[in-house]
Amino acid sequence: MARLTLERVSFWYPAMGRPALRDVSLAAAPGEVIALVGNVGAGASTLLLVAADLAPRVVGGKIEGRVNFRGRGKGEGGRGIVLPTPWTQLSGMAFTVWDEVAFGPANLGWPRERIAGAVDRSLAALDIGALAARDPATLSGGELQRVVIAGIIAMEPALLLLDEPTAELDPEGAGLVWRLVRALAGDGCSIVVATSDLDALPEVADRVVWMEDGVVRRIGAPALLAEESVCEAGLATTVADVWRTARLGAPYPLTVAQAERRWRQ
């Protein structure tokens, strides 16, 4: 049974004539990682807001079609979203990183010990235990991004929605977040992530959704990121793109490892 289902969803932001999403259908199963790729304005961020029940409920606008989310029940983590602007996502109610990460679980009404356990596990998962006593207002961009992600996963969401979760992170931090995404999926969490880090996706995503102008163009395995039409749209992995520019013939390898195998043959 799918955890999240979008059936023929169209969405208009307030006062906008053109829909930001048009007739989008998508289902996310438990344990599945779905990556949304597209150029600026494609609709990936909007799809996440709709899936999070923030659009139109909070941002306004108009929706058509059906969105269905099946959580784990009252008092359990439901849908969590990490926005691309982590500095807008702090509670503003916490003087330490530990309290900031505890804010979500506390609002689920969990017993104190369960909250403490969830916070400590989340801080460890993001490798920010050393920041626990810091004032969130003093963090760097990358540190803040990790804290916001920790605050969301501490609620043990059944559906995790991530918008450019590695944009502020150094390569070590980005690698850690991508490994965490796979680990959470291994525990049954459904994950939908919008990202421009295309080179990470062959190892992270189960399926890739190519969006353009609010429409889903294609859904497929990560191998999609080496197809001709995706290359033309500027959404291929770097290796596929370089292989194509060198006119070495399709199918293009997706990753450095695949290119190496082809080259040695």
Partner: protein, 277 residues
């Protein structure tokens, strides 16, 4: 484009936030037209270097100078005559009613004549291919376009030094290419370009020199290509090679190119020499 050409120079600069040291004994200088990447882990001190250049903070020890100007004793608005900057969350710092007005804010604040303001704004908007959006309200555009607009605003100052913090975060490939072209053009006109970034693929395309900070010290200062082709050098600095450079190294391409186009050309040449792949 630059009204004046000037060197950017750090001499034995140290800086702390309260008791937390951010930079220790940092020295480097960038000549007019040099394009440098400022690299390192989150928290290594990159943003602090940029804040020092713009005069938002001043060194506890040592000197930061832009040409013959010591930044100490100069407020950011005075330094803005020589330094243009775009900070990490630039898409949040627009406030005017149209993109055009936003880009004009800096030149207006410099007290330039209306015709000169108009010329600079037109040039900056054109450099980032934003002319068609000039009349639009910034918040009707996606954040990525607002980021480009903030860069246009910095270009319109026609600075001697341009400092950018993560200019490509959230940008897609076509928009990254626009930023790359605009930076290359600025450098060609003699502007010092210093970019703090984690996006090594972008750095490889545009930047030539690399300054890597590690816990507040300069751990590496040399050509970027030499850094990107060496995993042994990258790993201890918390960096990983971008896919193009990794491919170049994995296939042992001649000359170890790092720019994606150069990698593709080298690949095509070698493939042609050895028959079908």
């Amino acid at each position: 484009m630059a009204a004046v050409n000037a060197e950017l120079r750090f001499e034995h600069v140290s800086f702390s936030y309260g008791t937390v040291p951010a930079l220790r004994d940092v020295s480097f200088s960038l000549a007019p037209g040099e394009r440098a990447a400022l690299l390192g882990r989150n928290g290594a001190g990159k943003s602090t270097v940029l804040r020092l250049v713009t005069g938002l903070v001043h060194p506890a020890e040592g000197t930061v100078s832009v040409g013959d100007w010591d930044t100490r004793g100069r407020a950011p608005e005075s330094l803005a005559r020589r330094v243009g900057s775009v900070f990490q969350h630039a898409d949040q710092q627009l406030f005017a009613r149209s993109l055009r007005d936003d880009v004009a804010f800096g030149p207006r604040a410099l007290g330039l004549a209306a015709a000169e303001i108009a010329r600079r704004v037109d040039t900056a908007l054109a450099a980032l291919e934003l002319t068609a959006h000039a009349a639009e309200h910034p918040y009707d555009l996606p954040p990525a376009f607002r980021k480009l607009a903030a860069l246009a605003g910095a270009l319109a100052l026609e600075p001697a030094v341009l400092v950018l913090d993560e200019p490509t975060a959230g940008l897609d490939r076509p928009l990254r290419a626009r930023v790359a072209r605009a930076l290359a053009d600025s450098a060609a006109a003699g502007v010092v370009v210093l970019v703090a970034t984690h996006d090594l693929a972008f750095a490889a395309e545009v930047l030539e020199r690399s300054l890597v900070l590690d816990r507040g010290r300069v751990a590496w200062d040399a050509p970027l290509a030499a850094l990107l082709t060496s995993s042994e050098r990258l790993a201890p600095l918390g960096l990983a090679p971008p896919a193009g450079a990794a491919l170049s190294a994995a296939l042992d391409l001649p000359g170890r190119p790092v720019r994606e186009r150069d990698v593709a050309h080298a690949l095509a040449r070698v493939a042609a020499a050895r028959g079908p792949v």
